[in-house]
Structures are given as structure tokens and as C-alpha cells.
């Protein structure tokens, strides 16, 4: 596999991962999906629960 293709795959993977992560966070914040053991916290910057 040539180096250019590897770079493209890594960048594409990172971008997809980031987009999926942010999408999931948005759904969690909107309450569309629930996180296991979330304890009712929206996951703000000061929340000390371990999720």
C-alpha cells in the first residue's frame, strides 16, 4: 500500500471517528440515547461522574 493511501486512510478514520463521537455526544445531550450508568448527568465540564 502506498504511503499516500495510508495517510488518506488515517485522516479519514480520524475524521469519521471524531464525527461519530460528536454525533453520539449530541444524541446523549439531547436525551435521544441514554448512556449506561450515566446517573442522570449531561456530562458537563464539572461533572465528576465517571462517564
Amino acid at each position: 500500500m502506498d504511503a499516500q493511501l495510508v495517510q488518506t486512510l488515517i485522516v479519514g478514520g480520524a475524521l469519521s471517528g471524531a464525527a461519530l463521537y460528536l454525533g453520539r455526544r449530541a444524541l446523549l445531550a439531547l436525551g435521544v440515547v441514554k448512556q449506561k450508568g450515566a446517573g442522570g448527568c449531561a456530562g458537563g465540564c464539572g461533572c465528576s461522574s465517571r462517564h
Partner: protein, 726 residues
């Protein structure tokens, strides 16, 4: 129930054979915990005691007896120590049932002795006021008068007798002082006029409670006991315990609550407000603080810290020093972290061939996440100071000082805790508002909590202050950077109080309720606990940088990199990079929203940074890091974001993009704007959820955005008019 025995001066007599008569009194002893009640009980009864349990519960039942004259015997029942008769715990339930004669196997007392700690009159009189209302013959044992005198508290027993409507006997149970007089008062009490309700309720409340009192009277309670119980029932969730079987009582209580709420009276707080209002008057009339003798170190410190004039001033100076130290102490560490990221960027850049992967790592991840992480020292220092102040006991005093201002704007004193927590983060602060019972007070607090500057704003404030506010000394000891940061915190706090005042006089109009709080003694903080708190905060910040900020940085890098523009060969590198950025998705988006931010003096890059930070405020900084990372000259000497901002020029006009005025406007924008998806989500849930919650969350987001835009516009335009444009 264990079989009880009453012991009469050495001769044991089985309890069931003792019949109350003219010479035999049944005395119930009641009081708050730690008032010396048990010591008094021991002093009265000596060794003549028996211990058992009340039927069906594991509450200890202690009885004894004493003889105050030949043939004149009193049996004493020592009721569990309790702060009130709210019947919210088995102890309180038993105490109330015994006093009302509704406890199985325990005859109603002939006389009640309330043990009141003279050192803590306010707190002790809550229970006393409830007991007095039962209308039983009552004597008040004013205990620990010696300790009160030593602490400079003098209680006038005669005045207190007049105020309470029951004889007050000063005692020192540990030394047996006043016991003779107390016994004599107990013997005479049944012949005295019965005590009753001294406090007055609003007419609406009297009307609402009347049907409940009627039910209770029908069930066999005396009118005075029924009045006390009716008021008490407004504060308890359900009719339970000794009143559970009374037909129609729960319905009457529900109807009374509705009626009270309809009249604008918070039913659950009615009793506490009425009693503490009355207690304040009683204490004012009967107790005085004398001299300085006996004052503790805490008292002496509080004399200064809680002083009406000096207290708030001291609070401000202390906060100014905290904010100043954020800059002076953090600067060297911040430079180190900044240097570390610059080195990392250069090292990764040298390792990888030119291309998108190198750009993603250097300009996206390292520039984006690194630009936020450099603020870790500031956040650590802030929480170190706040934790120190909290652990010493000062923060409770700050709550006390602030309560005056809170009440001034119509907020409940309990709102201070959520507002204070909001300096760390609005999410737990909004949740902390659950402790505020009144819906209107709770909603008013939630609506203003995000105006308090949270830790996510620190990177924004410190980036802009560090870049555009000179570190000059003001007022001899403070520097302008610290003062500016303090000003941002104050602006948010003052605005929160102002907005709360508006809400409380319009949308969420309601009564102001007093706050009762106990101030802990000052103490030296434990280093381990303090460091643990700081570490928890730092870890949260790091985790956020490694997750949300990282993900947003990657997405923003992609938006700033694609699509690739075709740049004619020979174009100078700086111009080519700018053209690439402008032609990217981020650039196009930025130019689309530019007309909206232009009136505030911002270019499209600032506009995009604001837009991206709607998810989380610190993303503003990481977006700046990414934009200026992507758009940077590879040979540029300084990689620090602050240096890049200071040097940034408009490619068309050649003028500097940033000025102190722009920075100030931006900071004011961030003081007010609700740019935190987590806060919006938690507000939606805490204001009722569903459509109602969504409505409140949308309203909050909208009013704060309008406030932010309006204030930033005003700062920029007024600044320009005053000639601060450059």
C-alpha cells in the same frame, strides 16, 4: 416493649401500678441533641432509671423518677433528642406521639420540660415553639447558661418567660444548678395558664389550614395541638405515623396546600418561615451579646470577615488576589507547556512527510488541543485557591455575605450554593438548584446560573487578556490583567443578580424567604484533601481536552483544509495559505456569517470560532489554534497563539485584526453567551423536561445570546466613539 418500672426513692414500684394523682406527675423531657438534656435527666433522676424500647421501633425509651417533697413523686420520660416535631424520623415521630398521648403504652405527660441550650437559642426555639403550641403545661429549662455567659451571650429569663408564655428556669445541669427551682416550677406548671401559639400566620394561611384543624379536632386532638399539627403537616410529604388513620385528613391537607400555593404561599416553607420569623423577635428581645470576653478565635475573625462594610470589601480584595495570582503564578508554567507543544509540533512535523496527515496532527490536533491545554495551570491555581478558601470555612462566610445581596434581588439564600458552584461548571450548579424548594426560586436560579463565569471561560479570558491587556500595576498592588479577569467574573455575577431580580419581579414573581445557616469554625485545610479536589478538577479538564476538544479540533481542521483550492504557481506562501483557508468549507461558512459579526468588529475567523464554540466555550480557543495553525507560515518563528493573534492583519487592508477593544468586546460576549450544549441539555431536564423544559432552555439560550450580542456591540461601538479603536 420492655416492661418499665418507676422507682420511687429507693422503693421500686412497677410502672403499671403507678397511677397519676395529685402527688404523682408524669414529666416528659424534650430538647435538641447536645443541649445537656440527658445530663439534666441524670441530674434529676440520679440512678433511678430504666431503659427500654418504644413499641415497634428501635427508639430508646428512658424513664426515671424523682421526689421533690415527701410523698410528691414525678416520673420523667427522656424523649429522643430532636430538632423539631416534624415527624420525619422515627425519633421525632415517637417524641410527638408521646407528647400528644398517642404512643401506645405511654400515658400523656402532665408537664413537658423543654431543654433549651442558652448558647444556641435560635436553633433550639424552633422545637420549643412547636411544643409550646401543643398547649400542655410546659417549663423551659434554659440550660448551659454558664457556657453562654462565657461566650458573651446573656439571656434574660424573665423576658423569655414573657415571650414564650411558659416559665423559664436557668440551669447548669452539669453542676446541678437550678434543679430545685426547676422541680418547683414543674410542680406548679399544671396550675398555670397553658401556653399557646405566639406566632401569627397570614390570614390566607389561617383560612387554608382551618379545615385540617377541624379534622384533627374531630379526631380527638385539642384545638391548640390541632393547630400545631395542621401547620406541621404542610411541610411533610404525607400524613403518616400517629395521624395516619384519621379519615379525610390527607385530602384536607392536599386541599390546604393547593389553597396556600394559590395564594402565593409556599406551603412547605410556611412553618419554617413563620417560626423563624417569630424566633428572631424573641431572641432580639430576650438575648444580648455582652463584652468581648469568651469570644473564640472564630468569633474574632468573623467580627471582621462578616462586618457589613469590611466583609464585602475583604471578599473583593481576596478574589482580586486570587485572580491576579492566576496570571503571575501560572505564567512561567504556561510558557513551559506552550513551549512543549511547540516542540512537539515541530518534532512531529519533522518526522512526517508533508501532507494531510502531518497537517492534521500539527495544525489540527496539536495546535487545537494544545491551545486549550496550556490553560491547565490557570485552572489548577484557581481551584487550589477556591478549595483552600472553602476548606478553611471562608466560603460559608462568603455565602453569608452574599445572602444580603441575594435577598436584595429576590433570590433565596440557598441559590448561593448553585451560583458559587457555577464558577466551576454550570452543569452541576443547575443540578444543585434542586435543593431550592420553591419552584419559582429554583427556576430563577437556573435561569441565571450560566451567567456566572465557569472554568471553560478561563481559556477564552486568559488568551485574550494575556494577548491584549498589558501587565501594568494598578492601585499599587494589583496588576491590570488580574483586575480585568476579576472584572469579567464580577460582570457575570452582577448581571446574574440583576437578571434574577427582573425574573423575580416579572416571570417568576414570589416571596423572598430567609436562609438559616450554621457557620463552621475556621480550620486549617488538610493538604491531601485540597490536592485531591484540585486533581479531580484538573483531570476533568484534561479528559474534556482529550475527548470533545480533540474531536472538534479534528472536524474543524477538516473544514479548514477541504476542499483544496487551486493556487496559481508562484503565489507567495502566505497569500496561498490565506486563499486556501478562505476557499475551505470553514472559510465559506465564515464569510456567510461575517455580516452578523461585523457590527461587533469581528472578522470571519472570529465569527467561525464563536460559531464552533456553541458546543463548548473553550472550543473558541482550539478553533483559533486550528485556524491559525492551518493558516500559518511554516517558517514562522513563534508558534504561540497569543503572538499570532497580536500579529494578525487583515489581508485586504493590512490593518491589525485585534485590538484591546475587540478583545474586551469578545470577553463580554463570552461572559453572557450560553455556549455549552451540556448546560442547555441539563436545563431542559431540570426545568420539567419535555416541551416545558425545552421552552425554558430555548428561552435561556435566546436571552443570553441577545444579551451577549447587545453588550459586545455596545462595548465596541462606545469604545470606537471614545477613540479606543486602535
Amino acid at each position: 416493649m420492655a416492661e418499665m418500672e418507676a422507682e420511687i426513692i429507693g422503693t421500686q414500684v412497677p410502672a403499671q401500678k403507678v397511677v397519676a394523682g395529685p402527688d404523682l406527675l408524669r414529666v416528659a423531657l424534650i430538647g435538641n441533641p447536645n443541649t445537656g438534656k440527658s445530663t439534666l435527666f441524670n441530674a434529676l433522676t440520679g440512678m433511678r432509671q430504666r431503659v427500654g424500647n418504644y413499641s415497634g421501633v428501635t427508639v430508646e425509651r428512658v424513664e426515671g423518677s424523682y421526689c421533690d417533697a415527701p410523698g410528691s413523686v414525678a416520673t420523667v420520660i427522656d424523649l429522643p433528642g430532636t430538632y423539631s416535631l416534624s415527624a420525619s424520623s422515627p425519633d421525632e415521630e415517637v417524641a410527638l406521639a408521646v407528647l400528644l398521648g398517642r404512643e401506645e403504652g405511654v400515658p400523656a405527660p402532665d408537664v413537658v420540660v423543654i431543654v433549651v441550650d442558652a448558647q444556641n437559642l435560635e436553633r433550639n426555639l424552633f422545637l420549643a415553639s412547636q411544643v409550646l403550641e401543643l398547649g400542655l403545661p410546659t417549663v423551659v429549662a434554659l440550660n448551659q447558661v454558664d457556657a453562654a455567659e462565657a461566650a458573651g451571650i446573656r439571656v434574660d429569663a424573665v423576658e423569655l418567660t414573657l415571650q414564650l408564655g411558659a416559665p423559664v428556669v436557668p440551669t447548669v445541669a452539669t453542676r446541678g444548678e437550678g434543679l430545685g427551682v426547676l422541680k418547683s416550677a414543674v410542680r406548679r406548671a399544671p396550675a398555670l395558664p397553658r401556653p399557646g401559639r405566639k406566632l401569627t400566620l397570614p390570614a390566607d394561611a389561617e383560612r387554608a389550614l382551618a379545615p385540617v384543624e377541624a379534622r384533627l379536632t374531630e379526631a380527638g386532638l385539642s384545638p391548640s395541638a390541632a393547630a400545631m399539627e395542621a401547620l406541621r403537616l404542610m411541610a411533610v410529604p404525607r400524613v403518616e405515623g400517629h395521624l395516619a388513620g384519621i379519615p379525610g385528613l390527607q385530602a384536607a391537607v392536599d386541599a390546604a396546600r393547593e389553597s396556600l400555593e394559590g395564594a402565593g404561599i409556599h406551603s412547605r416553607a410556611l412553618e419554617a418561615e413563620a417560626r423563624y420569623g417569630w424566633i428572631a423577635e424573641v431572641v432580639d428581645a430576650a438575648a444580648t451579646r455582652v463584652g468581648e470576653g469568651g469570644k473564640t478565635l472564630t468569633d474574632r475573625i468573623d467580627a471582621v470577615v462578616l462586618h457589613r462594610g469590611v466583609g464585602p470589601l475583604l471578599f473583593l480584595v481576596l478574589m482580586a488576589l486570587v485572580f491576579q495570582s492566576i496570571f503571575t503564578w501560572a505564567e512561567p508554567v504556561m510558557d513551559l507547556v506552550e513551549g512543549g507543544f511547540a516542540w512537539l509540533g515541530a518534532a512531529v512535523g519533522a518526522l512526517l512527510p508533508e501532507g494531510d496527515l502531518r497537517s492534521l496532527l500539527v495544525d489540527g490536533v496539536i495546535a487545537g488541543v494544545g491551545s486549550v491545554l496550556v490553560f491547565l495551570p490557570q485552572i489548577t491555581i484557581l481551584f487550589l485557591f477556591l478549595g483552600f478558601l472553602e476548606d478553611t470555612g471562608y466560603m460559608a462566610r462568603a455565602a453569608f455575605i452574599m445572602d444580603r445581596f441575594m435577598r436584595g434581588v429576590g433570590l433565596h439564600g440557598r441559590s448561593f450554593i448553585p451560583l458559587l458552584s457555577a464558577y466551576a461548571c454550570a452543569v452541576p450548579a443547575v443540578m444543585a438548584a434542586r435543593t431550592i424548594e420553591s419552584r419559582k426560586d429554583r427556576f430563577a436560579t437556573i435561569m441565571v446560573v450560566p451567567l456566572m463565569s465557569c472554568s471553560a471561560r478561563i481559556p477564552v479570558y486568559t488568551l485574550l487578556i494575556g494577548s491584549f491587556v498589558p501587565p501594568v500595576v494598578v492601585g499599587g498592588i494589583f496588576d491590570l490583567q488580574g483586575v480585568t479577569l476579576l472584572a469579567m467574573y464580577l460582570l457575570g455575577t452582577v448581571t446574574a443578580l440583576g437578571v434574577a431580580a427582573i425574573f423575580k419581579s416579572t416571570l417568576l414573581r414570589g416571596q423572598v424567604r430567609p436562609m438559616i445557616m450554621e457557620l463552621p469554625p475556621y480550620r486549617l485545610p488538610r493538604l491531601r484533601v485540597l490536592l485531591l479536589t484540585v486533581w479531580q478538577r484538573a483531570r476533568m479538564f484534561l479528559r474534556r481536552a482529550g475527548t470533545v476538544i480533540l474531536a472538534i479540533s479534528i472536524v474543524l481542521w477538516a473544514l479548514a483544509t477541504y476542499p483544496k483550492s487551486t493556487i496559481p504557481a508562484g503565489t507567495p506562501e502566505e497569500v496561498a495559505q490565506e486563499a486556501q483557508l478562505e476557499g475551505s468549507l470553514l472559510g465559506r461558512l465564515g464569510h456567510t456569517i461575517e455580516p452578523v459579526v461585523r457590527p461587533l468588529g469581528y472578522d470571519w475567523k472570529i465569527g467561525v470560532s464563536i460559531l464552533s464554540s456553541f458546543a463548548a466555550r473553550e472550543v473558541f480557543v482550539s478553533t483559533m489554534g486550528t485556524i491559525y495553525g492551518v493558516g500559518s507560515d511554516a517558517d514562522e518563528q513563534s508558534t504561540a497563539l497569543r503572538d499570532r493573534l497580536r500579529a494578525e492583519r487583515d489581508p485586504r487592508s493590512g490593518r491589525l485584526v485585534y485590538s484591546p477593544l475587540i478583545a474586551l468586546g469578545l470577553m463580554v460576549f463570552y461572559v453572557y453567551a450560553l455556549m455549552c450544549a451540556s448546560t442547555v441539555a441539563v436545563v431542559q431536564r431540570e426545568t420539567g423536561g419535555g416541551r416545558e423544559g425545552l421552552g425554558w432552555a430555548a428561552f435561556q439560550f435566546g436571552y443570553m445570546l441577545a444579551l451577549a450580542y447587545g453588550a459586545a456591540f455596545l462595548v465596541y461601538r462606545v469604545g470606537l466613539a471614545l477613540g479606543f479603536g486602535g
